[in-house]
């Protein structure tokens, strides 16, 4: 096989996947009260289609939006709409949310049942199913999947890449999905290939997951799907970095993967597509990794809308010794203030850090060591951007291509002066919007 040249830059933080990588995905019981923020995706937020007091079932549509770049939201339990109010949101602080009280009967929408003759569905029909099921990218960015499945006609999608890189330290849910639900994921890949009509179909997995690679290789033996093991390097799971590693192509600055004839979907998303098409199942639950300072780290199937508190109680934590709760991985995850914050579609894990683990180093002045430049996968000058932000010279930021920053955190990770570079860059982005 030809030798892959990984993307330039990146870091190798301690992986710490051993905490959870051998733990089978087990379901966490649905809690009493669930919160469904009306914005769980990139794009226009939903409007509620239920009112206070309405009865809902598992899979009932509760929020929707007619705009193209948006995605509907479904209830993950049966119960009653308690209120529609502003509540904690893992990404944007607070947002309008539908609060549902679980009646513990777990009634399910009739539309959720095994479907027949799915092989006869046309591409447009599948895309409609994906949209109606509220499927978004489960790798973290939560971009509505149906949009990525319907590229403009002039864009020929030559290659479709299934993203099983899972480059964030600690997280193992994608790995477990590949090992436990490999067959369904491969079916999902076939569905997407059919829609995109791409000649090449690749599943890329980082080589720290040999079991998953074996499993997928076994399952794709008679399929025209290439399984590519890539060398571990963060942030290889980022779409643009993955394409650079696998195909050697650079997505144009400011462009999308489709501009180089590629579409990338996370393996969890592919599973959701399979389940939506074959069982009419909307995206109301997902696999997450709960790890770090918890007594039972592992991979769990959780209902969307479950508050962090209920999950951590289930996995048992020492509440008195918790320093930080992070939704997502340690490199790009978001630290939370409120333990009632719910899991949303884009949440891939919960990482708990003890007080001792928290790094709060004093910021030194930059010694211009350029480690941040060495590791930046977007080829930017993070220290330069941070200096300009500190000097509030906002007009200079576009020359430094601040918009190309993917906020992967590599620069902050390596900075010996402990400058929170990503923080300055995020501020700069807000100021130049």
């Amino acid at each position: 096989m030809f030798k892959l040249r990984p993307f330039i830059g990146g870091v190798h933080p301690p992986e710490n996947k051993h905490l959870s990588c051998d733990k089978e995905i087990i379901p966490i019981p649905a809690p009493e009260i669930l919160f469904f923020p009306l914005s769980q995706h990139t794009g226009a937020p939903c409007q509620p289609v239920v009112q206070k007091g309405d009865k809902v079932k598992r899979g009932t549509l509760i929020g929707t939006c007619e705009k193209l770049i948006s995605s509907p939201i479904h209830s993950s339990v049966s119960g009653t709409v308690k209120s529609i109010e502003n509540s904690s949101h893992p990404v944007i602080g607070r947002f309008q949310s539908i609060v549902i009280e679980n009646d513990k009967q777990d009634l399910t929408e009739e539309s959720i049942s095994p479907k027949k003759n799915t092989e006869n569905l046309s591409a447009d029909e599948i895309i409609k199913i994906v949209r109606d099921a509220g499927i978004v990218g489960l790798g973290g960015a939560a971009f509505p999947t149906h949009v990525k499945l319907s590229p403009p006609k002039e864009k020929v999608i030559k290659t479709f890449i299934a993203n099983g890189a899972e480059c964030e330290p600690y997280l193992t849910c994608d790995q477990r999905l590949m090992q436990e639900m490999g067959k369904e994921i491969v079916e999902g890949i076939k569905l997407v290939r059919k829609i995109l009509n791409s000649e090449r179909c690749i599943i890329a997995i980082e080589n720290n997951k040999p079991d998953a690679i074996e499993q997928i290789k076994e399952l794709t033996r008679n399929e025209n799907i290439e399984v590519i093991a890539i060398k571990v390097k963060y942030p290889q799971g980022g779409e643009k970095q993955l394409i650079k590693t696998v195909l050697g192509k650079e997505v144009p600055s400011g462009g999308l993967p489709m501009d180089v004839g590629v579409v990338v979907h996370n393996v969890g998303t592919l599973l959701a597509i399979y389940e939506a098409v074959n069982f009419g199942k909307p995206l109301y639950e997902r696999a997450i990794t709960v790890t770090g300072a918890v007594k039972n780290p592992g991979n769990y199937l959780v209902r969307i809308g479950t508050p962090v508190k209920d999950i951590l109680d289930f996995c048992q934590v020492d509440w008195d010794n918790i320093g930080k709760i992070i939704l997502g991985g340690p490199m790009m995850g978001i630290s939370q203030q409120d333990i009632q914050t719910p899991i949303i579609k884009g949440t891939s894990g919960i990482l708990v850090q003890t007080k001792d683990e928290i790094t709060q180093d004093e910021e030194f002045s930059c010694i211009r060591c350029a480690k941040c430049i060495e590791v930046c996968p977007a080829y930017l000058l993070p220290t330069q951007i941070a200096k300009v932000v500190k000097a509030e010279k906002w007009e200079r930021l576009s020359q430094l291509h601040i918009k190309d920053c993917i906020e992967c955190g590599c620069c902050t990770y390596v900075c010996p002066s402990k400058i929170p570079l990503v923080q300055y860059i995020k501020l700069g982005k807000i100021k130049t919007k």
Binding site: V251, S253, S365, R368, Q384, H401, Y413, V422
Partner: protein
């Protein structure tokens, strides 16, 4: 439950810190220090200690006066003092050494705003100040006489370093004088490599410096581009000169003698005063190499490392400006 900490990602950080880098460089230079002190004896040790203490004290006083946090434990002032001593002749007066250390820290560093803001390498700036102020003192070379016979008769390592000295020019000065051909005082390559020659305290042993250099690069404390570009150019250009005229010093001689190795690995590679861009670092190293060989070959000084690096320091902002990298995906975008 206690209050949860909120911060922007990433939530894990690499352990390397400014402090660990500075002390790491001190560790890397220590073989050269040990050799220099053993070879040049007690005065060299006193000079090293004087420069370090003065540099650290100057830093503390500057920071106190300027009302800045006192950061003398970060190792940067210690390193500046140490590096200054290492590029001084072993018999250099202590008072003059401490004056150099004050200049390094006060004018070389704190006038510009402290660590990270200085334009010139502080140790070299102090050295340049001493060179122009005390031209005689900075070119007085004493070479210890190594007593091999005593080593074998007494069997003790320290008796090898007898303490007797002779006054001589540095190998580079000898080689570049017009009597270069067949000058018996030019040490052998082995002498240059091990470090039994005249010169500054820290520059004489190529072996000791190379051990440190390997450590620096393995630990990623410095960017390899600058020293490789620098030494590579000196080697290449001196090869050309040597091929054109055999009377010129050999490329190996150029690399092993004078301050090239300590300059390339420990001074030019100083991140604060060199460009932050990858391309810029190549240009910096190559530029310093061309300047060094030019000064050595056609200039009035036998040694050109110090001024080459200081000159390239001055060009750093300019180099940086013209070597900003294209962002990811920029090439494709321009083709459109």
């Amino acid at each position: 439950m206690n209050k949860l900490t909120i911060s922007i990602s990433p939530h894990i950080k690499d352990k390397t810190s400014v402090k660990s880098i500075m002390w790491g460089v001190v560790v890397a230079i220590s073989p050269a220090v040990v050799w220099g002190v053993l070879f040049f004896q007690a005065h060299a040790l006193y000079l090293v200690l004087t420069c370090i203490v003065t540099a650290v004290l100057s830093e503390a006083i500057c920071q106190k006066i300027l009302n800045r946090p006192i950061t003398i434990t970060d190792g940067s002032a210690f390193l500046t003092g140490l590096l200054l001593a290492l590029v001084l002749p072993p018999t250099f007066p202590l008072w003059a050494g401490s004056l150099g250390a004050v200049v390094s820290i006060v004018i070389g560093k704190h006038i510009f705003g402290g660590l990270g803001y200085n334009i010139f390498n502080p140790a070299l700036l102090g050295r340049a100040f001493l060179s122009v102020s005390f031209p005689v003192l900075t070119t007085a070379w004493q070479v210890p006489v190594l007593n091999t016979a005593k080593l074998f008769s007494e069997g003790k390592f320290y008796s090898f370093f007898s303490g007797d000295t002779i006054t001589t020019a540095t190998p580079l000065a000898l080689a570049l004088s017009k009597f270069a051909v067949a000058n018996p005082d030019i040490p052998s390559y082995m002498g240059l490599f091990i470090g039994t020659k005249g010169g500054c305290i820290g520059e004489v042993s190529a072996l000791a410096l190379l051990i440190g250099a390997v450590y620096l690069i393995i630990k990623k404390y410095i960017d390899w581009r600058i020293p490789f570009g620098y030494i590579g150019v000196v080697f290449t250009v001196s090869s050309l000169l040597w091929f054109s005229n055999n009377a010129n010093p050999t490329p190996l001689f150029h690399v092993l003698s004078g301050g090239l190795l300590i300059g390339a690995f420990f001074m030019a590679s100083d991140p604060v005063t060199s460009p932050i861009t990858k391309k810029g670092r190549w240009i910096f190293g190559i530029g310093a190499g061309i300047l060094t060989i030019s000064i050595r070959t056609w200039g009035g000084y036998p040694e050109g490392v110090m001024y080459s690096i200081l000159m390239m320091n001055a060009f750093t902002p300019l180099i940086e400006r013209f070597t900003a990298p294209l962002q990811f995906g920029a090439k494709r975008m321009m083709k459109k």
